[in-house]
Amino acid sequence: MISRVATASLNGVDGVSVTVEVHVSNGLPGFTIVGLPDAACRESRDRVRAALLSSSFSWSTKRITVNLAPSGTRKNGAGLDLPIAIGFLVATGELSETQIEDVGFIGELGLDGTIRPVPGTLSLIDAIQNPAVVVAARSVFEASILGNKQIHSALDLAELVAALKGLRPFGQYNHFRPSTQAKKYQVDEGIEASMDLDISEVRGQRLGKRALEVCAAGGHNVLLVGPPGAGKTMLARRLVSILPKLSSKQALEVTRIRSAAGLELDHSFYDQIPPFRSPHHRASLVALIGGGSSTMRPGEISLAHHGVLFLDELGEFQVSALESLRQPLEEGLIRISRCRTTVTFPARFQLVAAMNPCPCGEGFLPGSCRCTPQQINRYTRRLSGPLLDRFDLRVPINPPTPEELMVEGKRPNSEEIKIRIESARKRQQDRAGKLNSDLTTNELSKHAELTEQAKALLARRLASGTLSARGLVRIKKVALTISDLEGGTRCLDAHHVSEALELRVGLAMLSPQMMVA
């Protein structure tokens, strides 16, 4: 007897339609799975057998061959357990082919027959052609997001078979919903920045806050440089609180990636909060950009898609990991090629980085820095010119003085700033259909007209050597954003350019031999 069951397997963040073929025949008793299964797939043999026996089905002593078609592509994950079990039941005559005709199956099996959720359900559902799909009870909500398929579910195999046979109706498991409550501390998942944080909690740091406002408005990448305790991390964590909400399309993309990475859905889906990821500086190259040997998993940069990737202690990251960010920063996606497969992950993120000016961290004040010029040179040399160049904003962050800390008075809160940012973003979308940071050089010269004074100022800076030709384009983009925040005249005035110049200091500022009066 032979049976066919529709299911899907994950390739990157996309699902690939897979047909599970089960053949039961006479011969030497055995159970083989062919069609390039990975380790988790191969193990499903034992899970399926145990689950079937626990659910009071009989195990056949015949020769069982399972083929995962198309057999040329590698299948991964335990999500094929359920389709294999169903295929076996059809092949042994327990279920009839008509009963599973229009149904696809996704699910991992427990030894007792429980059906468990699998990562990437959202993408898998999308890949299955059948009008109805059976998923684990905990996945029902996620599977229903797209709304284009009939979703069935059951708690365990026995219940599912009964429902398929029509002996009982499918259970309603919509009560497994993600919490709508913002969890305050989800450090393990990196979503620490939530709506609870407000930019008004930061005292002083006007330049830093302004930099955040500008980078949020124009989608610019920002580098914060300052000694420990100056408030770089505090500022960066509050960036999400001033970012506009995601569109539902963007939120869906973010959810697909999170799901494929095996992360649970949480409140950020309802709130449409942009993701905020802050990987540790020892993160490996693969953890950062994604990949893996058999299962291609999205990396931190993809999890930060449509959101913020915060790299604290930029100088401590592995050089290779940092350099690998250059392509995704330009293209908004990352292509990972292995010998068997090439996967493309979306990675349109905003990069926020923080670093100390020197290894001892106490730069800016020559007296307090204990580093030799060679040490500083070595430290700053880790960051290549092309990478540093991709930061439109490079801002020195100094520790607040006692007066600044004690100053009481109204500080603008995140909501007020967000309103300004939203209108600035709308202005950019109306003008060019994209954010200022994504403008090409031609578009920039079309949209950013400089006044005579602004031209004179730029010419002066170019002549004095504080501004490079490469920096010129970046400065214009930032100046355009500043003018958008202000209300947006067509011309870029000298004070817009002047402020942009202050927000993008040269690399010499990174060296600590700077005297603060």
Partner: protein, 462 residues
């Protein structure tokens, strides 16, 4: 025990000569003699076949000979005589280097080992000249010094130094480089210190004063950069390594420029790497050569203070550039001024200390640092927007009237110091003014010429 030679030479000389290449505990390579090979002995007692300076260079290259001993020996006899005595092992009654057992046999082997012809060729190929205590071209200021360097290696502009046999180059130290002023200070200097050092170097060189320094990063380098930009007097660099090893590598450009336009001096033979203890020794030469020593920025305890101590013990005038009492790198200089060192406000003060007459000083037209910056700003802005710059009648000094400014402009101006003030500090000091407006005001003030912009910081001019 150690014979300095360059890498290639050493390897070639190792072959068949019984030297084993070994490593010291500190990682430096040295060669140890294991077996004597008489065929390499070239020097002859009676007929001197090389110039005296070659013998001097060879003597300086043998490390087991102490500097003070060599200086004493060279004061009473010629290098060739000392050399031949060493070859014969006649110095048995001398302590060659304090704290080291005299192994005259080994020393003799080392001396006989040296190939003077090759040494001469090396000096010529690196265009390095040699002088020694007692030589006619030995700098007069060093003669009779309490710690006189026995041998000096020098590298200078091609017109001045004829390398090789005729090394009368250092005569120019006395004839052309007068007066000489050293500008020294910390490597980890502030922006203020770097600008002051550059300015002093530039102005003094413009007035024909030779600037001596150690080519280190920070103050030393900045002073030399200024002197090289003015290019009116011979800059002198005293370094702590052999003249074929550039140290620190960041000063490569200055090193090359000075060896083209001025003179590089070193007490150490070719191939000698810069060692920790070379620097205080180098500082004493800087002090001894100077007419005036200027400390621009230094901590209380720093390399510059070695030079100051060396100067005071030689009765050389020490001057210091004052700095902020809050700045740790100005503590040393402020202490010096408190203790009676002369204060340097601009190059004129140095010229006065050098004994220039008022007439001579007027001729030099030293412009104060502030006026120079203002002039540059005026030049830069003159082409652009109209501004409030006006020349005071009867003087060539620029001045701006702060009374013409609006209230907010004045507030922003007052938030800026005369030293670089970070933009973030200005924003916080004017926390009641809108951030966009502050940038607008800063731009106005800059185009009016009241302030100067740096990269992320501002300086007030008026």
């Amino acid at each position: 025990m150690v014979l300095y030679q360059s890498g290639d030479d050493r390897i070639s000389s190792l072959k068949g000569s019984g030297y084993n290449q070994l490593n010291n505990a500190d990682g430096t390579e040295y060669t140890e003699y294991t077996e004597y090979n008489p065929s390499t002995n070239t020097a002859d007692d009676d007929c001197r076949e090389h110039d005296q300076s070659i013998y001097a260079a060879a003597l300086a290259g043998i490390e087991s000979i102490g500097r003070s001993w060599l200086a004493r020996a060279l004061e009473c006899s010629k290098p060739s005589q000392v050399w031949s005595k060493l070859e014969e092992g006649k110095f048995d009654s001398f302590s060659l280097k304090r704290g080291q057992p005299n192994d005259l046999a080994k020393l003799r082997y080392q001396v006989r080992k040296v190939d003077l012809t090759r040494l001469k060729a090396r000096l010529e190929s690196h265009q390095v000249g040699v002088t020694y205590v007692g030589a006619p071209d030995f700098p007069a200021k060093l003669v009779g010094d309490q710690q006189v360097p026995p041998v000096l290696f020098c590298k200078g502009s091609k017109e001045l130094v004829r390398a090789g046999a005729d090394v009368s180059s250092l005569a120019i130290l006395d004839s052309l480089c007068h007066p000489m002023v050293s500008i020294i200070g910390t490597r980890n200097c502030s922006h203020y210190g770097r600008e002051c050092a550059y300015q002093l170097g530039y102005d003094l060189s413009s007035c024909g004063v030779s600037v001596i320094s150690g080519l280190a990063q920070g103050i030393d380098g900045a002073a030399h950069r200024g002197a090289l930009d003015a290019n009116q007097a011979f800059p002198i660099g005293v370094v702590a390594s052999g003249l074929n090893l550039i140290y620190p590598s960041q000063s490569r450009d200055i090193w090359n420029l000075i060896s083209e336009r001025g003179i590089l001096l070193s007490e150490y033979p070719l191939g000698a790497p810069a060692q920790k203890w070379h620097f205080p020794a180098r500082n004493r030469i800087i002090a001894a050569l100077s007419d005036v020593v200027i400390v621009v920025e230094s901590r209380r305890a720093g390399g510059a203070m070695h030079t100051v101590n060396a100067s005071t013990s030689r009765n050389i005038q020490v001057m210091a550039v004052p700095g902020s009492i809050r700045s740790p790198v100005s503590q040393g200089t402020n202490d010096l001024i408190y203790d009676g060192a002369l204060m340097v406000r601009d190059a004129t003060d140095v010229l006065v200390a050098l004994g220039y007459s008022a007439h001579q000083i007027n001729d030099t037209k030293v412009v104060s640092a502030r006026d120079r910056v203002a002039q540059q700003t005026a030049d830069a802005t003159a082409s652009g927007v109209t501004n409030g710059l006006n020349l005071q009648p009867g003087s060539n000094q620029l001045d701006l009237d702060t009374n013409t400014l609006t209230g907010k402009q004045t507030e922003v101006l007052q938030a800026i110091g005369y030293e670089p003030t970070l933009t973030s500090a200005i924003l916080n000091r004017c926390h009641y003014i809108d951030i966009g407006e502050i940038h607008s005001l800063l731009y106005n003030l800059e185009s009016l010429g009241f302030i100067r912009s740096g990269d992320g910081w501002w300086t007030r001019l008026f």
